[in-house]
């Protein structure tokens, strides 16, 4: 979770001595570079590209950063380390070594049983059934801002950008991922319960008094 949300109106404007002006980020000293990179790669929730790492270190040369990353990789190769430098989708990030997956899985298993909140599940279901779909369409259906939820689903690897819609603004089209299929135990998207299978639900609904009203509402709009 976000540790501290910005609350600008409540905060005293920058009285931290070391803080430099925006944009003028200091460059780490050569001997600081590896630890700084390690701290950055530890903190990030998505892989950081060389370009981004250069920005985050006050514009150091990418070659210099690559050198330090290799240094880190060597450190991690040591058997006493449980972490490794993971290079995924064009960026770098720390990850645990695969050798220790048993214990990591034991830890993750004990996390909350359902880490997907209702908002996440609802958004995911809309993306799953309506993909490819743009944010505005999801928001039209949900009636609420969905930016943060989409980001979380992206970070969790459950959805991804699958293209852009050819309309003004070229908004991103979202779709579900392999991780999504695995998480829900589906071999492919065809295995999503279809509208045909919603029959049961509809019949359950028919037994409830509220339903006939819903249906006649619908009928009236036709």
């Amino acid at each position: 979770m976000e540790e501290l949300n910005p609350q600008p109106e409540e905060l005293v404007p920058g009285d931290s001595p070391e803080e430099t002006a925006d944009g003028a980020l200091p460059q780490p000293l050569p001997e600081e570079l590896e630890p700084v990179l390690e701290a950055l790669l530890f903190t990030t929730t998505s892989p950081l590209s060389l370009k981004r790492l250069s920005e985050l270190t006050g514009g150091l040369e990418e070659a210099e950063i690559l050198g330090a990353l290799n240094g880190l990789r060597t450190q991690y190769a040591h058997s006493q380390r449980g972490l490794m430098l993971s290079e995924v989708s064009g960026g770098y990030q720390l990850a645990t070594k695969p050798d220790y997956a048993d214990w990591i899985l034991a830890l993750l298993k004990h996390r909350r049983k359902n880490p997907l909140s209702p908002a996440l599940i609802e958004t995911l279901s809309i993306v799953a059934y309506k993909q490819p779909i743009v944010k505005a369409e999801i928001e039209a259906i949900r009636g609420v801002d969905t930016g943060a939820v989409l980001r979380t689903l992206m970070e969790a690897g459950l959805i991804e950008v699958v293209g852009t819609k050819e309309v003004p603004g070229r908004p991103s089209l979202y779709g579900t991922t392999e991780v999504f299929l695995k998480t829900f135990g589906l071999r492919n998207l065809e295995e999503l319960p279809s509208l045909g299978q919603m029959k049961e639900l509809f019949q359950r609904e028919l037994r409830k008094p509220a339903t006939s009203e819903e249906i006649s509402d619908t009928g009236a709009t036709k």
């Binding site: 979770m1 059934y129 259906i141 998480t183 999503l192 319960p193 029959k199 709009t221 036709k222």
Partner: protein
């Protein structure tokens, strides 16, 4: 003479009346346990005036404290018997601070200011200390940090969304968006290209119930015109729409399961009676035909 040193930007911001009082006590070099009420009251009132002069908003809390100080001062000046408690209505006793109460409050408040200062030091020391707040997804060997989910969770969520879409009042306003004729033309062209349409998929892409119904009416119309045939292998199976007498569709469906053949001649659409032969599983008919559509049956 002001105790607050203008210009404005060096003016300390006081968190409240107690904060201001503490400041005054310190500036006046008084002991907190030995406050001279009349002097501190004068200073306090002067400070409020300065704040007002600087067009700082003086909150009600500051004014309440001013009244309290004046009250204490008054009771100190007045002859002893006049300040006895009988003179004060019961319910107001709690509200009126004695000098001792005020000192107690100030001491307590100062204690928390001190603790705040310590916390501030801790805060600054820990400002660069960041904890991971999200497990990495790319843990090799642990593909997903999210435990396996039951697909029904997703299905239920979407059902709710679907129901909500259906009942959203906005659709009465937007009823012109879909017309049976448009859908009919669209379906006809797709069928004529030789496609088998999966009805479920067709409906899933609909943005709302109204579009589903429009499609459905168009399908019925095409069936009535004997341009299409509709088939389903059995309960819960996919429903296909194909050109009329499409043998391929029929054979494949018939191989897998016998399908029910039902007549729906009594269905009314557009005021006309239609009697197409539609290959449907009877459960499916129940499912698709809402009471409104089957109203005439």
């Amino acid at each position: 003479m002001s105790v607050l040193y203008t210009p404005k930007f060096t003016l300390p911001v006081f968190e409240g009346p107690l904060d201001l009082l503490l400041h005054l006590v310190k500036v006046q070099e008084m002991e907190i346990t030995d406050i001279e009420i009349s002097r501190i009251t004068a200073q306090y009132l002067e400070a409020l005036q300065t704040m007002e002069a600087l067009q700082l908003e003086v909150a009600g809390d500051f004014l309440v404290m001013a009244a309290t100080l004046l009250n204490i001062k008054l009771r100190m000046i007045l002859p002893q018997e006049a300040s006895t408690e009988e003179a004060i209505p019961e319910e107001e006793i709690d509200e009126i601070l004695s000098t001792q109460d005020l000192i107690r409050k100030l001491v307590e408040y100062r204690r928390f200011k001190e603790l705040s200062a310590t916390l501030r030091e801790f805060e600054i020391q820990n400002k660069g200390v960041v904890y991971r707040t999200q497990a990495v997804m790319s843990v090799p060997g642990a593909k997903s940090e999210i435990p396996r989910q039951d697909i029904r969770i997703l299905y239920d969520a979407f059902s709710k969304v679907f129901r909500r879409i259906r009942t959203q009042p906005q659709h009465t306003v937007q009823k012109e968006r879909f017309t049976t004729d448009d859908k009919l033309v669209e379906l006809r062209s797709r069928i004529q290209l030789g496609h088998h349409l999966n009805m479920n998929r067709l409906f899933e892409r609909c943005t709302d119930k109204e579009e589903v119904i429009t499609y459905f009416l168009a399908i019925l119309e095409l069936a009535k015109l004997r341009e299409i045939t509709i088939a389903q292998a059995g309960s819960y199976e996919e429903i296909f729409i194909a050109p009329w007498n499409d043998s391929q569709l029929f054979s494949s469906v018939e191989e897998s399961a016998p399908h029910a053949v039902i007549g729906i001649d009594s269905i009314q659409t557009n005021g006309e009676s239609i009697s197409p032969q539609i290959e449907l599983n009877s459960n499916l008919a129940d499912e698709l035909l809402s009471p409104e559509i089957t109203g005439g049956v």
